[in-house]
Every structure is written in C-alpha cells, then in structure tokens.
C-alpha cells in the first residue's frame, strides 16, 4: 500500500517525461491524476488505519543494500499518517494552482511529481539511509522549481535554499554515520529501542547533528533567513509545498528521529528547545510586522507559527506534543491557503507590495472572504484549527517551561497586529483605482482553496478526529523519551 502511494507520483513523472513537450493539456491531466491518485490512496490508508494501535502499520521491509544493513523499510503510525495526508492533499491542490505556470510545462510537472514522491518518502521511510536519500531528493526538484520558474532573484534564492539545507543535512549525515558506526544498523525502530544504551554525551552529539539538519528546515532561529528569500522568489505552488510540507519535514524529524533515538539528550536540550520556540514565536512575529511584501510577511509568520511546534515538543507532555503535531497539520493548511491567496492576487496584479492594494474588499468579495478567513485562522481565532494547536502547545509548555510560554503568549498579540494589517491594507479602506477592474476568484482557484477552508474549520470545531489518530503514537513517544 505504501509503495503504491509512492508509485503514484513516480508513475506520473515517467508518463509526463514520455509525453511530447507540446501536449500541455495532457501533461496537466497526468499530473492532476497522479497527485489525485496519491491523495485517494492516502485516504484509503486513513480508513484502513487502526487508530487504537499506537505502533507502526502497513510496514514494508525489503533488504536493499545488504552488506550495509540498509533496508527499504516503510511504515506509518499516528505521527506520520497526518503528514502523509497533508502532503498528498497539498500536492493535489497546489497541482491545480500550477495551471498558471506558463513555460516548460513538461519539466515543471516532472519535477513537481518527483518532489511529491520525495516528500512522501521522507514521511514513510523508517530506515535512516533511505530517509537521508529521500530527504536529499526533495532538494533537487525544489531547487529547480524556484530557480527556473521563480521570479526576482530566483537563482540566488534557489542556491541559498539548496546550500543552506545541504549544509544542515551534512550535520545530520554525520550523526547518521556515527549511529551506524556504533550500532551497525540504519533501522529507526531498532535504534530507538537501543537508545537507552547510548550514553548521554553520545546522545547529545547525535541530537546536535540531527538538530542542525532539522533546524534549517523548520526553520529555527537563527537558521531561518533562507525562508523569506525562497518564498518570495518561488512560484505559488512551490511556496505552498515549501511552507506546507517542507517545513514539516524538519518538525517531523524531531518526532521520528531526534527524540526517539536520543531521548535523554532530548530531555537535556528541552530548556533550549523551549527558548528557541519562544524566540521563533516572538521574533518571527515582530519581523513579520515590519514587512511590506505580502509573501515575506507570510513567510515570517511561518517562522513564528513553527515556534509553537518547538515549544510543544520541548514540553514532552501529552498536551504539548499533541499541540505541536496539530500545529504542523494546521499550519500546513493555513499557510498553504495563505500562499495560494497571495498567488491569486499576484497573478492578477503582478505585485506583492501591501501598500499597493487597498479597498479590494468591495471589488472582490469572495476573495476578501477567503483572505479574511485564513488571516483569522492564522492569528489563532477559536473555532479554527490554529487555535487548538496553539492552545495545546501553550498548555503543554506552560506546565514545564513557565516563562518561555508566558513570553510566547505575547506573540499572539503581535500575530493579531500583523494579520489585521494585511486585511486592512489589502481589503479595507477606499478602493485603489488601479484595481477597479480586478476579477474575483475563478472556479479553479476556488476548488484549490475551498478544501483547505473546510478542513481548517472542521479541525477547529472538532479536533478530536485528528487527535485520535496521533495521540496513541505520541503517548508512546512520551513514555519512551521520559521513561514514565
């Protein structure tokens, strides 16, 4: 089942490569069906998933490079399943948004599908070697998506993104090699079982190595400056996946690798993780407040929101970890939606300067409704998913890291300030005459945004169904790490 999931985008990629360059419609159709098929398979996965069992399910384990003890080892549990669903959903929706790509369709969609396969592989892999390979594979298509189809200083941004992430991954590679030298296996399950035999000093080194790899991706202050540049120059669908999924790979790494394999170090670094979470939340929010470019503002808001993942993680409490996981899903949906909305506007106006808009609320009411909704979700309005996530992270964090959480709460005020600044500058006030002929959202754009809106609302009103999926695995993780 999991290989089938991986096969969907890969088969799509091969089909796209086999199609003639000029058959744009066919290429689009293939891409949409491939991402759609992956989404359907992941839904089947969801329905076949037994939430009551906290362990790994749908496991596939085949020897790959036997002398090195490398396996093709896949499986999902309550931690990876939400990520898989997020990936297939956002890939499908961003694929719809990719119709506005106007050149080199064949290469674009081939890379796009490769990207999806890489992201899925990251969330499915249970063998560190395999994980490292797919982790690096993700970089390549994203590099080209930004570098070729981007705007502005796209070469600079793409290169910065690539080198930065690669540098982080090297630290992770060292940690993986150190682990292999010690344990002679890449099997994450085995490694986490024997983690108690690793002395604290060794665990701390491991944790630091993994931390650097994941910190760049999340991104954690001060490793975040590639993010605004990459976002600003990336085409809309790449931005959606970058914020929606790629950042989550970093967070997921902590859940899947750093915490289980270096549990004592994870506790040892808890204080630091909480401080970094707080810095991310407050610093990201302040810097977002000062932005004048719509996309940069949303990019910095991501820095702020991902801080809640760190804070929740650092608490190692059920509420905190659930909040952190929930935030990963919620932020993927909300920020994915935000970037789609920026794209809708940019396609029409070719500007992202917030000061250039004004009064659009009267001209494009449907767009205004969507933008207001996602802004409110982003500032953590109760009834929408962001609130549940932030609230749980804060409750979890508060019990353990008191003052870090108290400082983080101020980030919520700033979040209201910058999101309402967006609404104020784009939608309210007198209509800027330049945009008096602006067209409202097309059915295709609506189709790519409506599912996100429904999910954000559904998760906010009834968070239980996502929590029920992830809670078992997270409880196991807490017991494993804290020994309690």
């Amino acid at each position: 089942m999991l290989s089938l999931l991986l096969a969907c985008p890969l088969a799509g990629m091969l089909l796209v490569l086999a199609s003639p360059r000029t058959a744009v419609r066919a290429i689009r159709a293939i891409a949409v069906s491939a991402t759609g098929a992956a989404f359907v398979v992941s839904l089947k996965l969801l329905f076949a998933f037994r939430a009551a069992e906290p362990g790994l399910q749908f496991v596939e384990r085949v020897p790959w490079i036997q002398p090195l003890n490398v396996f093709y080892f896949l499986g999902v549990d309550g931690i990876s399943l939400p990520m898989v669903l997020l990936t297939t959903l956002l890939s499908f929706l961003a694929c719809l948004a990719s119709f506005s790509i106007s050149e080199r369709h064949k290469e674009y969609f081939a890379l796009y599908l490769l990207l999806e396969a890489g992201m899925l592989g990251t969330f499915l892999a249970l063998d560190l070697f395999l994980f490292y390979v797919v982790w690096e594979i993700v970089l390549v298509p994203m590099y080209f998506l930004i570098g070729i189809w981007g705007g502005g200083r796209r070469e600079y941004s793409a290169f910065k993104f690539f080198v930065y992430t690669l540098a982080g991954s090297l630290a992770m590679l060292l940690a993986i090699l150190a682990l292999y030298a010690r344990a002679r296996t890449f099997d994450m399950v085995e490694l986490s079982q024997m983690s108690r035999t690793f002395e604290l000093g060794f665990q701390q080194l491991l944790f630091l190595g993994f931390f650097l790899g994941f910190a760049v991706k999340v991104p954690i202050f001060p490793f975040h400056t590639w993010l605004p540049d990459a976002h600003v120059d990336a085409p809309t669908p790449a931005s959606v996946l970058l914020a929606g999924v790629l950042l989550k790979m970093g967070g997921y790494g902590f859940f899947r690798i750093a915490y289980p394999i270096a549990p004592d170090a994870a506790q040892w670094f808890g204080w630091g993780m909480a401080v970094l979470g707080m810095v991310n939340i407050v610093y990201g929010a302040f810097v977002a407040m000062a932005q004048t470019d719509f996309k940069r503002l949303v990019a910095y808001s991501s820095v702020s929101h991902m801080g809640f993942v760190l804070l929740g993680l650092a608490s190692l409490t059920p509420a905190g970890l659930n909040g952190a996981m929930f935030q990963m899903v919620s932020h993927g949906l909300i920020t994915g939606g935000m970037f789609l909305l920026v794209g809708v506007l940019y396609d029409r106006t070719h500007t992202r300067d917030l000061a250039a808009f004004g009064g659009l609320g009267a001209r494009v009411p449907v767009y205004a409704g969507f933008l207001t909704f996602f802004s409110l979700a982003s500032l953590g309005l109760p009834g929408l998913s962001g609130f549940v996530a932030e609230f749980l992270s804060l409750v979890g964090g508060f019990g353990v890291w008191r003052w870090q959480t108290v400082v983080s709460v101020t980030g919520i005020i700033v979040a209201a300030a910058y999101m309402l600044k967006v609404v104020r500058q784009v939608l309210l006030g007198p209509l800027n005459e330049r945009w008096k002929a602006l067209a409202d959202m097309s059915p295709r754009e609506l189709a790519s945004l409506a599912p996100l809106l429904i999910l954000v609302l559904a998760l906010g009103v009834y968070p239980l169904w996502l929590l029920a999926i992830q809670d078992g695995a997270l409880t196991r993780l807490i017991i494993h790490v804290t020994g309690r």
């Binding site: 302040f286 309005l381 309210l428 006030g429 968070p463 239980l464």
Partner: protein, 651 residues
C-alpha cells in the same frame, strides 16, 4: 437555592441549550451563502432566529426560577485528557445574560431593518449580527473557561467585522483593528489565567471554582483573578484599556447599541461575576479602584464630547465602571448580583439611547452636537424615548436606573462612606452629561440646516425603541424593588435583602440627579460658565484635559505603538543586516577559501613541486570543477556515489 457564582454539578440534561446559539449560527450560515439571493428577506431570517433563541431562553425560566440548573456537554479534546470536555450550563447568572442578549438582540435586529435599509451590504450586516449573537450566547452558556474563551474571541471578531462594516472609510477600518488588538491585549491576561488554571485539577470548570480556595494559595488566586480581570477590563473598556470603545462608534448605530453598549462590553462584568470565587480581597481592591477610576474619568470626558455617539460611548464606559465598582465592593454574594442588576437596566436604557441616537443620525445624517438642536418637534417619539432613557440613566425615581444605582450606592455606604460620596458624584455627572446631550439635540431652536427635512423614523425603528422604553421604565421596579421582593436578586442567589426603601439614600441620589440635570441646563444647554471668576482658568484647564480624553490615546501612540513599530522595524533590519548577512558572509568565505586554495595550487604548489605538478594539477582541476557552484553537478556526485557505493557493497 442557586449560588451566584458557581454551577452545580447536578443539573438537568437539556439538549435544547444547543438551539440557543444554534439558531443564530444557522441564520449566519444561511445568510453568508444565500444572503444576496434572499435580499431583504435576510433580515427576517436573522430576526426569526434571534426570536427563536429568545423563546428558548425565556422557556427555561420556570426551571431556573425553581432553583434548578440545566446542562449539556460533549467531547472535544477528550482524547488527550478527559478534562477537555466542553459543555453548556445555565444557572441564574447565565440565564439573566441569555434573556438580555436574546431579547435586546431581537429588538435591535428588527430596528436594523429600517436603519440599514439602503445599505448595499444589507444581508452581510445581518449575517454578522447573527454570528455575533451566536458567539455571545456561546460565551454565556459555556460551563468552562475554554469554551468561554472561544466565545470571547469570537465576539471580538464580530465586533471587529461590524465596527469596520463601512470599511471604505479609513477611520472605520482603523477603529476595527484598534478594537481587536486592544481587547486582545486584555485577552492574553485571560489566556494566561486559563493556562494557570489548567494546572489545577478541575480548575477550568466553572462548577468547581468555589472549591478552589482549598487547593490554591491566596497569592495564586490573586494572580489568577487579576489576569482574568485584565481580560474583563479589555472587553468592558475599563481604564487603561478603554481607548477602543469610543473609536468603535464608527460602526452602524445598531451595532453600537447591541455590541458596544448592551451585551459584548458587559461580558467582562459577567466574567468577573462568574469567576468571583477566585477573587481575593487584594484583587477586589484593584477591581474597585479600576471601576471607580473608570466611572469618574469617563464621566467627565462624556461631559465635554461633541459627537453624539461618542458621548454615549464614554457614558457606557462610565456605567461599566460603575458595575465594576459594584463587583469590587466585594460582598461575595451581593456584589455580583448588584452589578448584574445594573447590567440589565443599563442594557435597556443604553440600547434605547443608542437606537434613539441612531434615529437622529438616520433622519439628519448629522451627529455633531453643535449642528443639532430642536429636533423634538420633528421627531416627537424619538425625543420622548430619549428623554425617558435619560431619566432612567440619571436614576430618577421610579425608573429602572434608580433601583439598580441605589442598590449599589447603598452597598457602597455599608462598605465605606467615601465610596458612597464618590459614586454619588458620579451619579451627578451622569445626569449632567446625558441631559446636556438631550437638551442640545432635541430642545432649543432648530439648528439651521437639518431641522426642515428631519423626520420621524419609520415604524419598524420606532416600535423596538418603544418596547425598550417600556423596559427602561419598569424593569428596575419589576426586577429589583422591595415592592416585588427583588426577584432578580433572588434568581441570582442573593437571599438576605433588607426590604423597604432607604429614604436618605433615595433623597441624596435624587438630589444628585437633579443637580446634574440643573448643571446640564445652565452650563451645557445655555452655555453659562457657573464657576466663580478666580476658578475659571483652572476650570478651563480641566475642561481641556477632559475634552482631550486625558491624552491617553496620544500617550499610547507615543509610548506603546511607536516603540512597538520601531522594535519591529529594528528587528527586521537586524534580520537582514546581521543574521542574513552572516549567512551570505559564510557563503562568501567559502568562495574566498576556494579561490585562495586555487591560488595556492597555482602559485605555491605549481612552482615548488614541479615534478609532482602534473598529478597535483589534475587533482586540483578536478576539485575545482567540483566547486563550480552548479548544484546539479554536486548532486550528480552524490547520486553517483550512492549508486556506486551500493553496487560495490552488494557483491
């Protein structure tokens, strides 16, 4: 007998509670999707939903009056912790709020049909109004802090949407944002209190609050209650978080009446009344001080404002201050009941005042006092109802404000005489500003430009005002007079209440009201300076201070908003110039090292080791090619290496 501030855990299961916020929510859903198609019908959808909610709420009254409680709960975050169930519950306190919100909501929605008649976003207005009521009712029905907080934030959102309803006006767009952010500053206090309470078993359930003083030390309760009060102060526009409410008058008049006078701004009072068991004498002291300060400061500002709605806004702040003072008086059982009593009467007369002001604005398109006057002849109904509400607010016997204000005055007398005299002064100020407003709007010569085409508002607007007028006249006597045995206090759980009128207090408060009205007649209406000559410069200075709202807005702009924006700017520059520059610097260092290495190869290695030159050169070339900066070549190497490695080791 129900307890005023604690829900019992034995309550009747009542699924019909879901209907109370459910009906307005359904109306919102219908209107947001089909509003444009429904056209003018959309108003009636909202009115019907609210009337339905009012029906259900009033239907609960026999059970509530019999001392029973109702509840209904459902799972929310129970996967993590069984504590996280959410639920609704109704006791006397929440029932009073339910009755106020649904009844006044229905009346104001009806009035809005006339007031918003010509607005292009007619159905959108009723959608937001319905969403507001659904959120407000959720807030009131919540049996725990989490759901209350959700409703609390959602009413803030609706307030934002409705203040900015005419968003083409930059001032309206700004006012909405100011309201949301200012109240959110208070909300973080409430959120921190919730976080603290989440550490206590059962701490988030209102029904368990009265048991908490066994578990929590006094210092903790002081902290928690002060944080809760910070939230309440933001919502109820208490000093120093009051600055958003006057600006909120940018919204349509019915919004001001419903949200910014009768219901949402009273949520802070409700919250404190609900969580009163957590308050310690120390925190009640703070509550009392803030309440008194707000009552008097806002009252004096109201004396000087020239915009009709802004006078009413400061009046609302001042009256909310009076309710806060009542809470701070601290006699645990009585205090919350007295504040709630004044909340009820205030909701009636203040909503009426706003609707009447709206009627004036509707007729004249003018809200500047200096350009209004003599409207009584053109608008007899509006004028009469405005006068009635003004008398009620001034506390003239036997109208509603008299009963609720006198109850508070009497309580203050028992606590400390100085409090009584301060509040009595506040009562005089109240009468003065409201009669200044009435006289200058409705009496005297007609102002030049508008009186000729001013006209009475249509029936659909006057009828709800008339109903509120009846309520403003009699509800005090019905709900809280010795003649009817204080039924409202009874339902709020206050049992011991001395019967009979306190004649000295009655006389003094009537004197205060009369002197206020007299002052309004002389100084406010006939513009005569009553101060003796030596005091005049001081009087002018004080007047200027109050007219400029004590410069609080300017102070905030200078010392909070500007430093905040400057900090954001600085951090953004820091991010660009320091952190990002470091990254670029490291990158450049890498290139430089590469170049140095190349030069080293060329200049040193080449010349010195001539013999090995060819090999070194080949290697150097190879290395250099690796450092081309072309990423797919790097990757090619990685991929080839992986493949070769795996093939090599497979054998």
């Amino acid at each position: 007998m129900t307890h005023p501030a604690g829900l019992a855990s034995t309550a009747l299961v009542a699924p019909q509670l879901l209907l109370i916020p459910g009906l307005p929510l359904a109306a919102f859903t219908i209107l947001i999707f089909a509003g444009r198609r429904l056209g003018r019908m959309s108003a009636w959808v909202a009115v019907a939903a609210l009337a339905g909610a009012a029906g259900v709420s009033w239907g609960l009254s026999p059970t509530i009056w019999a001392g029973q409680q109702l509840a209904f709960s459902w799972p929310w975050l129970t996967a993590i912790d069984p504590r996280w169930a959410l639920g609704f519950a109704v006791d006397g306190l929440s029932w009073v709020m339910l009755a106020v919100v649904t009844s006044i909501g229905t009346l104001i929605a009806t009035y809005s049909i006339g007031y918003m008649r010509a607005d292009p976003r007619f159905s959108r207005f009723f959608a937001y109004l319905s969403l507001f009521c659904a959120s407000m009712l959720t807030l009131v029905l919540a049996d725990n802090f989490v759901l209350l907080y959700a409703g609390w934030e959602l009413v803030g959102l609706c307030s934002y949407l409705l203040i900015s309803f005419w968003f083409e006006k930059p001032s309206a767009a700004e006012a909405g944002r100011k309201a949301f952010i200012t109240t959110r500053i208070g909300d973080t206090g409430l959120l921190l209190a919730i976080l603290l309470l989440s550490l206590v078993p059962g701490g988030l359930q209102f029904s368990r609050l009265s048991g908490l003083h066994h578990i929590l030390p006094g210092a903790d309760r002081t902290l928690i209650s002060l944080l809760i009060f910070l939230g309440a102060a933001g919502k109820s526009a208490q000093v120093p978080l009051h600055v958003w409410l006057p600006d909120a008058m940018e919204g349509p008049a019915p919004v001001s009446a419903l949200i910014h006078a009768a219901t949402m701004v009273a949520a802070g009072i409700y919250l404190v009344a609900r969580t009163l068991p957590l308050f310690t004498p120390q925190s009640l002291h703070v509550v009392l001080t803030v309440g008194l300060l707000t009552h008097l400061l806002a009252g004096t500002i109201a004396l000087t404002q020239t915009d009709v709605k802004r006078v009413l806004a400061y009046s609302t702040i001042s009256q909310l201050g009076l309710m806060t003072s009542a809470l701070g008086l601290g006699s645990l059982r009585g205090a919350s009941a007295l504040a709630m009593f004044h909340l009820v009467t205030h909701a009636c007369f203040k909503a009426l005042l706003f609707l009447a002001a709206g009627s004036v604005i509707h007729a004249t398109h003018e809200q500047d006092l200096s350009r209004l006057g003599g409207l009584r002849r053109a608008m007899p109904w509006t004028a009469a109802l405005f006068l009635l509400a003004s008398l009620a607010m001034s506390g003239v016997f036997p109208l509603s404000g008299f009963w609720s204000k006198d109850a508070i005055l009497l309580e203050a007398w028992h606590v400390h005489e100085a409090l009584f005299w301060l509040l009595l002064g506040g009562a005089a100020i109240t009468a003065a500003y409201i009669f200044r407003l009435y006289l200058r709007c409705f009496e005297g010569p007609a102002a030049a430009h508008d009186a000729s085409h001013a006209h009475e508002s249509p029936f659909i607007m006057v009828a709800p005002m008339a109903v509120l007028g009846v309520a403003a006249a009699v509800i005090g006597w019905l709900a809280g007079s010795p003649g009817t045995h204080h039924p409202l206090l009874h339902v709020l759980g206050v049992t011991e209440r001395h019967e009979g009128l306190d004649i000295p207090v009655l006389v003094l408060s009537t004197l205060a009201a009369c002197s206020g009205i007299g002052l309004a007649w002389v100084a406010g209406f006939h513009r005569r300076n009553v101060l003796p000559a030596p005091l005049r410069p001081l009087g002018h200075r004080l007047y200027a201070l109050a007219a400029n709202k004590y410069y609080v807005d300017e102070f905030y702009a200078r010392w909070i908003v500007q430093p905040f924006l400057a900090a954001a700017e600085r951090l953004a520059v820091f991010d660009q110039r320091v952190i990002d520059a470091t990254v670029d610097g490291v990158g450049r260092l890498g290139t430089t090292i590469g170049e140095l290495k190349e030069r080293f190869d060329r200049l040193v290695v080449d010349r010195l080791v001539n013999a090995a030159a060819e090999t070194a050169r080949g290697l150097g070339m190879f290395l250099r090619r690796l450092q081309t900066g072309i990423v797919h070549q790097y990757l090619l190497v990685v991929v080839v290496a992986v493949v070769v490695l795996s093939l090599a080791l497979r054998r």
